[in-house]
Symmetry: C2
Subunit: 349 residues, 2 copies
């Protein structure tokens, strides 16, 4: 921070600018704000630590299934640990509840503990508070989870190690969670198993914990896709000071997208959040290993290439002509108006 | 949890009951939910970890000074580290903001970082989100902080080590924060420096970090007074399976209490929250050391004695006759109605 008078100026602050301006300080710790996880060295070991807040009306709808919410609240934090290649160890839960509803709590804790136990991740502490509600004040359910995992620092990738010539890979498939959100909002109807599969992806994301650990020592940079492929890959490009080409034909997506208008495809697959896949970079020498890698029920797909040209260019394939679109490196930002958020990237297409 | 159908029954669940029913699981970690901090062993060292959430309308008023709020949000977490005798190391901040207001954020971060830097405690991560607000519905500011410190496990007290014959001690003085809350609510007027001192105690509590570390290896049990002396001491008694006598004449309080009705004195000094002093137990052999102990600008005062009789009895002094009151071991509980909360303990006096 400089000493000048702070001002919003003509535009409201974006989330990342806000964090940089008011909360980024030299820490003395090995990793600071801005990565999926902070790292701290303790007694010769290294912990990866992440904290995320989920708010009713922002991250989930008031009528959400509480068991799914319990799963998802922990899953989004475990996904950050996955991006760091960490083994989950424990977590803390802060819960602000408009009311203490036994049936709701039983389902929420069941969903949360089922996921926690499947990863050997213990709930060790936290805080429970009644959320305020009254005249003109909505009682908003909020959930803050801090998750802690263990990593091997020598094999840690972070976001800053992508190098020109590296391949870009992504796990599983992208866009289903964003398509599910459009379904829930009544903007689109996807009948049958395809639609149900999308809803499952949104409600019960699978953190790619096993994949993340398998990538430790192989990936040169990694991040989880929480805000959209182009935005999250953009963080890697910015931190690594490199550019990228992404090949649209290669980006893994379920067949139902073939029946949708291209603008919808782009919006969901390239800029849709909440998929919690891993996007990562790796040298070409790792291709044989990665092409055979399976973890958490999915494999990984090569979707592009890091180069030294600033910016991110989407082409149809490696031999494509002019880029289909060139993307400004900006991901979903909670402090910008929805119309300015990530899906706008697709409008150029 | 048993397998029976959950039900609120005739009374809504209290906070502690709620946590015990839905969130207490065997963890495999060395300490679980219910202490000031969770402890985890990492590479031969031990970390103390705590997480607290502060909500507008519950823990602070909408017109709170943002610099004081930044201080207090971190202070309440550092106070938990102090109770564990920990050296603060780092923290994570989750912030849900109704709007990104540059002036507010600048003041909030200034207050938070001033305290953080005075304890060498680095902000290493977190999350910033826009709090939901809509037509006629105000967005609620919420702050969740997770703080991490280092302890010497061999000298850690926790809450369960109090033994009959131990003295009960408290740091500084009690009741000023509760008196300040009554002032802010217009229930009482305390003019001049005495009133200003109370407001300062409520708005800018001092976590007793130096005292907490000095007590490591001396105290047999310790807790910070966040919910009220009797309630917080009650947690030690419950966890240690002991009883206590507390001597009203000995409980340290500022002179202004001498001018107030006894019910107000009891309510503030015995059951008022937010003082963030340390209450702890120690063997009589530690008296010479403790009587000369000064840290964080305050000393410690002997206020009572642990015994084997269940419950907590308040007497005027060690030679008092019948107890002034016998206290049910229940501290402030966010899920009970305000009229049932901690101050009711004083009504018996």
């Amino acid at each position: 921070m400089d000493g000048s008078e702070p001002s919003d100026g003509p535009h409201p602050l974006g989330e990342f600018e806000l964090i940089a301006r008011y909360f980024a300080r030299p820490t003395g710790e090995r990793q600071g704000i801005g990565d999926d996880c902070a790292l701290i060295d303790v007694g010769g070991q290294t912990l990866a630590i992440t904290s995320d807040m989920l708010l009713e009306g922002v991250h989930f709808l008031p009528d959400v299934d509480p068991e799914a919410l319990g799963h998802k609240a922990l899953a989004v934090n475990l996904s950050d640990l996955a991006a760091a290649g960490a083994r989950p160890r424990c977590f803390l839960l802060d819960l602000a509840l408009p009311r203490a509803d036994a049936r709701w709590l039983e389902a929420f804790s069941r969903g949360m503990f089922a996921l926690a136990q499947s990863h050997g991740c213990a709930l060790i502490g936290g805080d429970t508070t009644r959320a305020p509600q009254g005249a003109g004040v909505a009682g908003v359910l909020s959930i803050a989870i801090t998750a802690i995992g263990e990593i091997d620092r020598a094999r840690y990738a972070g976001r800053s190690g992508a190098r020109p010539g590296d391949d870009i890979w992504v796990s599983g498939s992208l866009g289903e969670a964003a398509l599910a959100l459009a379904m829930r909002r009544g903007q689109i109807d996807i009948p049958g198993a395809a639609g149900a599969g999308c809803l499952q992806r949104m409600d019960r994301p699978t953190p790619r914990i096993a994949l993340g650990q398998a990538l430790a020592g192989v990936a040169t940079a990694a991040i989880d896709v929480s805000d959209g492929l182009l935005g999250d890959l953009g963080h890697i490009l910015e931190r690594s000071a490199v550019g990228a080409e992404v090949y649209w034909a290669c980006v893994p997506r379920v067949p139902v997208f073939g029946q949708l208008p291209q603008a919808r495809q782009y919006a969901c697959v390239l800029a849709g959040g909440d998929d919690y896949e891993l996007v990562f970079t790796a040298p070409a020498a790792a291709r044989p290993m990665l092409e055979n890698l399976v973890g958490d029920g999915v494999g990984v797909t090569r979707i592009g290439r890091i180069d030294a040209t600033p910016g991110l260019r989407l082409r149809d394939g490696p031999d494509g002509a002019a880029p289909l679109l060139t993307v400004a490196l900006q991901s979903f930002d909670h402090f910008r108006a929805p119309s300015e958020a990530a899906p706008s990237a697709a409008k150029e297409g």
